[in-house]
């Protein structure tokens, strides 16, 4: 262990972890990265394309290199940034993207082949032959290039989501964010302070500077204590704000349990949707590096990160050898001073600028550049070119300080365009961008602590004023106010490769190649080279790449411009975006009132939208679903069957103008419907196409219940409200859905009246008293309120009986019990479908949005006497001339199967589009007919009864000869349902 003094780790506790199987020690407060460095581990992974040995570069979420697979088994998470992984006892991590051991990666051969992997290599190399891409090239590339691998096991952890509302969201808890949160908190605003780190303080934690003459932690702890005491302030640590959405909505992920071995019963992460009236963006800045030859060796880090490791985590850069700093600004010198103060030997500060002076007791090489590095698995020396020539320094690590880029990402969502600030040589947030978001501190270009504190207070004051609140006087601590004096030195030219984007292995040469190949606009540059893609989104690379491209084109950096910024700011796991539940509870389901009865009685269920419906009921001895379905169909035709039809939408319509309203809604006449009667109703879309069908029951002069199909219950209700509120608000109509309130059971078959007579409380069920299409309120089973409708979907004598939903289960059981001697049989949706096909009733397959009332044989129903929705457009020339009609089909050879979806052709006609005469909508095996039957829309169907035509199923290369018959296979005269 090469721990330095001080730091924010708990030395009283030692915790253990393993990396690539080897055991190490660390302390609470460590990240995996800091603990690895403290254990002298510099080599942590292999690069994306070339499999170059790589080490830790940064100390925060911008880390491009140190991606590890954290945890094991189903919990293994690839591409975890070691810099963001909090150390816990028992942590297990592995390096990625190598074949064989990390220090002897067989795929390092790619590095020798690097000329073949230059920018755009995918597009150039693997073009021919085309068929090779999928089978050969892509799998090979995927094996050779890439990041971590998924476990391919189900994620055992839970995630959830939540919603927060605030007056002010403060993003980032560094000096600017803390000042802003404190001011707003004291002003009484509802504040959320979010930071991706597990500790408040931001960059202050990485610095040695004093606040009011004391360590910064004292001020941070005092502010934290006060914020925690305020009921109007909520602190979210380990929480990244990953995106800004319209009207002040922010997406955030809180890593609730990622710092624990397992989440226990809690969630692993929470997705927060935060609605904030205003936000202060205090996201800080990210240091950039300076590309030079072979600048990617383990041990070469960002200087500011090296300083953070020394100050916060009490570790050097993973080596006991001396350290050098390469800088183009004063901030690099601060790193040297801090390292020395902690006892890390500094070999030299190499400053590319001219006329600079030493700020402490170290060797300064002014006007000098690093031009080469040596060390296969870790840095052991660098070559420096000065005005006096070349020199080699033996160093174990090199800190590179290229200036700071404000974290403008969130301010640049919504197409906000950052602007170039010549003073700090960086992009700062510009005009446009998300409304209500105020940048402050280093992310606004105010990088010194004193500036950041003041700017945070300024931003909060501005936000509070817009919220109608007054900012309190807030004395800010005395702090450093140095400027970096960064020089525009972007890279060190040379012949060898100099990396710009470590994660994607993009070098200065690749950018030069993109330039040569005319991929010069930044969006092209990005896609041609893959610069700025993948998990780090080029946080340490993008601006440097722009500068290199600007140099090549002779344009300025602002002229070169930036790519569009989009969410997420850092990677977000799919698990947390999915949130909530997986498996059976992935989406809510609706159960019918007889669900539990059906389950106990052998039902197989089918999903119908959100509903679970009984599909058929298997009895002992039945080995194929057709056995059950045929039995259920025959039971209805011969005796009595019971089917839960609760799922049909039910809308209660009341009001003085209810009749007029419904007459305008249905294509057929409703005004003439008498109280106590039901009418079949057809609804059209305004364009004249058939939309939905159902029944309309008139319970009183001013009270109706209408039913919709199961699938359209929601949309029809929405359209009814549209008609009520938008089209005819002058009508006195009230609507309310009652779908769930009533358990509705179809009692169908010749013995249905007999069965019902055993349940009703003295109600006269005779044909005279209660004819076909009658409806009435009544009581059953000794006083239970119920509604009875004499309607039929099967063509048999049939009723639908509705009772309060809580009695649905008991009613089903009672009907079965009371009808045992009548052969009462429960039937499911399959039998329901067979029965309606046999009867020629249209359903969803016929009402598919492309058909008209005329096509389903209901053209005469569409009233020409009134203006109902869709009636006028249904008489348009094109629709009125429609000659396709719903017909029945029977196979000529009774053992053939009619296949829905088949297209119809006259015998002998070519099987092509020009000769297509229609299609089969529904088909089933009919136990009544004794063969497969179908319903179809057939050209000129009315005049083709008896004709034999071909039903072609080109998907399966099959064809069946079918005879055209009327669509009513059962009781075409309708005598049974009126019996």
């Amino acid at each position: 262990m090469n721990r330095l003094s001080g730091g924010m780790i708990d030395r009283n506790q030692t915790i253990h972890f393993t990396f690539n199987g080897k055991r190490y020690q660390g302390h609470p407060g460590d990240t995996l990265a800091s603990a690895l460095l403290a254990n002298g581990v510099q080599l942590v992974g292999r690069s994306f394309k070339y499999h170059r040995p790589r080490g830790i570069v940064a100390a925060g979420s911008e880390e491009p290199n140190a991606l590890v697979t954290l945890r094991e088994g189903a919990r293994a998470e690839p591409n975890t940034r070691a810099t963001m992984a909090e150390l816990y006892d028992g942590l297990v991590a592995r390096s990625q993207n190598h074949v064989g051991p990390l220090n002897f990666d067989l795929l390092a051969v790619n590095d020798l082949l690097s000329p073949f992997f230059a920018a755009g290599f995918y597009y150039k190399t693997f073009m021919w032959p085309r068929a090779f891409w999928e089978k050969l090239y892509e799998p090979a590339i995927r094996r050779a290039a890439g990041l971590g691998e998924l476990s391919e096991l189900p994620d055992p952890d839970a995630y959830d989501r939540g919603y927060l509302h605030a007056d002010l969201l403060v993003i980032g808890a560094g000096p600017a964010g803390l000042a802003a949160a404190l001011a707003a908190g004291r002003a009484g605003a509802k504040v959320i302070l979010a930071d991706e780190d597990f500790r408040l303080g931001g960059r202050l934690l990485a610095e040695s500077d004093l606040l009011d003459g004391a360590p910064a932690t004292e001020w941070i702890e005092a502010v934290k204590a006060e914020l925690e005491s305020l009921p109007n302030v909520r602190i979210l640590t380990r929480t990244v704000i990953f995106g800004v959405y319209d009207h002040g909505i922010y997406g955030a992920v809180e890593r609730v349990s990622d710092h624990l071995p397992t989440p226990g019963g809690a969630v692993r992460q929470t997705l927060w949707r935060i609605v904030a009236k205003r936000a202060v963006l205090a996201a800080g800045a990210t240091e950039r590096h300076i590309p030079f030859a072979d600048n990617d060796r383990p041990g070469i880090m960002l200087a500011g990160a090296m300083r953070a490791y020394a100050n916060r985590w009490a570790t050097g850069p993973g080596t006991s050898a001396p350290v050098a700093i390469f800088t183009n600004n004063d901030d690099g010198h601060r790193t040297a001073l801090d390292l020395m103060a902690r006892g890390v030997p500094v070999a030299a500060v190499i400053d590319a600028r001219r006329g600079v002076e030493r700020q402490g007791d170290y060797r300064l090489l002014p006007e000098a550049e690093v031009v080469g590095t040596q060390g296969r698995l870790g840095l052991h020396s660098i070559t420096v070119r000065t005005s006096r020539g070349s020199d080699t320094l033996q160093v174990g690590a090199l800190g590179v300080a290229g200036g700071w880029n404000p974290n403008v990402h969130l301010a640049s969502h919504h197409r906000g365009r950052p602007v170039w600030d010549e003073r700090s040589l960086a992009f700062v947030p510009g005009q446009g961008g998300p409304g209500g978001l105020i940048p402050a501190g280093a992310c606004g270009g105010k990088g010194s602590t004193a500036e950041a504190l003041a700017d945070g207070l300024r931003a909060a004051t501005e936000a509070l004023a817009e919220l109608g609140l007054t900012a309190p006087a807030l004395p800010l601590p005395q702090a450093e106010a140095r400027q970096d004096n960064t020089a525009p030195i972007w890279h060190v030219p040379g012949k060898r490769r100099a990396w710009v984007d470590f994660q994607n292995d993009v070098t200065v040469k690749d950018i030069a190649l993109a330039h040569k190949e005319n991929m010069r606009p930044v969006e092209h540059l990005k896609r041609w080279t893959t610069l700025g893609m993948a998990t780090d989104q080029g946080k340490t690379a993008n601006v440097t790449a722009l500068a290199v491209m600007a140099e090549l084109t002779g344009k300025t950096i602002p002229q070169t411009g930036t790519t569009i910024f989009r969410p997420p700011y850092t990677g977000v796991s799919m698990g947390v975006l999915g949130g909530g539940d997986t498996g059976a509870h992935f989406r809510p389901r609706r159960l019918t009132p007889t669900h539990h009865w059906a389950k106990a009685n052998g039902a197989t269920f089918v999903e119908v939208g959100p509903w679970m419906r009984a599909q058929y009921f298997v009895r002992p001895g039945e080995t194929h679903w057709r056995h059950s379905v045929d039995r259920e169909v025959l039971a209805v035709r011969a005796g009595v069957g019971l089917c839960d039809v609760t799922t049909l939408g039910k809308v209660d319509v009341q009001g003085a103008d209810a009749t007029l309203f419904l007459d305008r809604l249905y294509a057929n006449a409703m005004a003439s419907l008498k109280v106590g009667m039901v009418r079949y109703g057809l609804m059209l879309r305004e364009d004249g196409s058939a939309y939905d069908d159902g029944t309309c029951a008139r319970l009183a002069e001013d009270h109706y219940v209408v039913t919709t199909t199961t699938a359209n219950a929601g949309p029809v209700y929405r359209n009814m409200e549209f008609a009520r509120q938008c089209l005819w608000p002058e009508l006195d109509v009230q609507l309310i859905s009652t779908t769930d309130a009533w358990a509705q059971i179809a009692v169908a078959g010749p013995k249905s009246r007999e069965l019902l007579s055993r349940l009703v409380d003295g109600f006269d069920l005779s044909n005279e008293a209660f004819p076909f299409m009658a409806c009435a309120p009544l009581t059953i089973c000794g006083g239970l309120r119920a509604r009875l409708f004499r309607i039929s979907f099967s063509g048999e004598l049939a009723y639908e009986l509705a009772v309060p939903a809580r009695y649905g289960h008991a009613l089903m059981a009672r009907l079965m019990e009371a009808g045992a001697d009548l052969g009462a049989t429960p039937y499911g949706t399959e039998a329901l479908g067979v029965l309606r096909i046999e009867k020629g009733h249209a359903a969803g397959a016929e009402l598919n949005g492309q058909t008209t009332g005329q096509m389903i044989g209901l053209g005469k129903m569409v009233s020409s006497k009134k203006d109902a929705i869709g009636n006028i457009m249904s008489r348009r020339e094109g629709l009125a001339a429609e000659k396709r009609l719903l017909v029945g089909l029977q196979p000529v050879n009774a053992t053939d199967t009619v296949v829905p979806g088949s297209h119809l052709f006259a015998q002998g006609a070519p099987r092509d589009l020009a000769h297509d005469q229609g299609w089969i909508t529904s088909a089933a095996y009919s136990p009544h007919v004794g063969s497969s039957i179908g319903l179809a829309f057939l050209e000129d169907g009315a005049n083709r009864m008896g004709e034999v035509i071909a039903a072609a199923n080109p998907l399966q290369g099959s064809e069946v000869a079918v005879r055209v018959v009327p669509s009513h296979f059962v009781d075409p005269e309708g005598g049974r349902l009126r019996a």
Partner: protein, 93 residues
Amino acid sequence: MLIPHPLLGLRDAQEFTYLGDARLIDRPTSGNEAELAEYVYLRDNPAGVHRELWFHEQGDRSWLVVTRNTLTHEILGAELARDVSLARKGATA
């Protein structure tokens, strides 16, 4: 997005179902086929300020006329569609 509901204040757009051009309120009553064809099929699709219908399906079931800039998503106002419709009918009566 947040929709400024005239009765309930700011509500998340996820609670709403979008329909489109608010001109759908003006359903022709003439019975003229050509007029209805225009009503059904011809809509403006402006890049800019647009009056459009939103249904508060997961809320109070009000249809709203929302004035929104389709380029910026800025919302300039929201009214109950019922009020808009009644006002138009009153104006033409």
